[in-house]
């Protein structure tokens, strides 16, 4: 069992707020899991920070986009449905790949300007 910065033990599993499955906090990468690997949702009370500062709202945090970390790895960006706070979290190897891809391509599928007009500029680099 792992523990947080204050030394209190963290639960070995949690149940997802959205899809209800029981999720182990252990990951293949040995980081502590914060989000559900099935639906990429987490509760806005984080295990990443000391309990003393954990005045989080407890609402559902939903995945909104993918960012790329310095080393090239993907990070999941989430927004809290309760307080609108943003958070980022490592993408784990056993996360739902289809949902990740959908998040990654969503901006291009819904561009606010016609991509047709960008073609030449894009090709020019």
């Amino acid at each position: 069992m792992s523990s947080d910065k204050n030394g209190s033990p963290l639960p070995a599993s949690f149940s997802c707020m959205r899809c209800g499955i029981s999720v182990s906090t252990n990951t293949p990468s040995s980081r502590i899991r914060n989000h559900c690997p099935n639906c990429l949702t987490s509760r806005h009370t984080t295990t990443r920070e000391p309990r003393t500062t954990d005045g989080r709202c407890g609402a559902r945090m939903q995945p909104i986009s993918i960012a790329v970390l310095r080393g090239g790895d993907w990070a999941l960006i989430q927004r809290c449905t309760g307080c609108s706070e943003l958070a980022d979290d490592h993408v784990e190897p056993d996360d739902n790949q289809l949902l990740l891809i959908r998040l990654a391509v969503r901006p291009l599928a819904q561009p606010p300007f016609p991509l047709e007009h960008l073609g030449a500029l894009w090709a020019a680099g």
Binding site: I64, S65, I66, A67, V68, G72, D73, W74, I77, R79, S84, E85, L86, A87, D88, V91, P93, Q97, L100, I101, L103, A104, V105, R106, P107, L108, Q110, P111, P112, F113, L115, H117, L118, L121, W122
Partner: protein
């Protein structure tokens, strides 16, 4: 659509920091006036923009400055470091939102894309994740490794 010029040579002042300090008397005008100077590409940016009440990012390079703490326009942060654009999210109504991360303190922020933002810079940001497909995704999509 503004020209693509994020890497325009000579845009960045070689002694930006010193010059900024000399401009201190004018700082109030910068903070609360009608325009701000981009911390990244040094463009003079008008604060009024089509489609948003609080423009807080540069339409050229999409960089921002850490001035808001919890909601756009509250001006409650004292950090004031540069915030770099890291991702594009799409709202329920289809609107693009730029996600920023502060290079000073690591905080995240978001700001709606404005009508006169550099479309090429926005699109580049939008494809960043696809350009960095990790190996599990490449295997799943049957894309050969780079």
């Amino acid at each position: 659509m503004p020209r693509r010029n994020n890497e325009r040579p000579g845009r960045r002042q070689p002694h930006g920091r010193t010059q900024r300090q000399k401009r201190m008397p004018g700082r109030n005008r910068d903070e609360y006036g009608k325009s701000f100077r981009c911390l990244h590409c040094r463009l003079d940016v008008s604060k009024s923009a089509p489609g948003t009440a609080h423009r807080n990012h540069c339409p050229n390079c999409l960089s921002s400055k850490h001035v808001d703490r919890s909601c756009p326009g509250d001006r409650a942060s004292t950090c004031h470091a540069r915030m770099e654009p890291i991702s594009i999210a799409v709202r329920g109504d289809g609107e693009w939102v730029i996600i920023h991360r502060c290079v000073g303190c690591g905080d995240l922020g978001s700001n709606r894309a404005a009508g006169d933002d550099n479309a090429l810079a926005l699109t580049r940001l939008a494809v960043t994740a696809i350009r960095h497909l990790g190996s599990p995704l490449r295997i799943q999509l049957a894309i050969p490794p780079e």
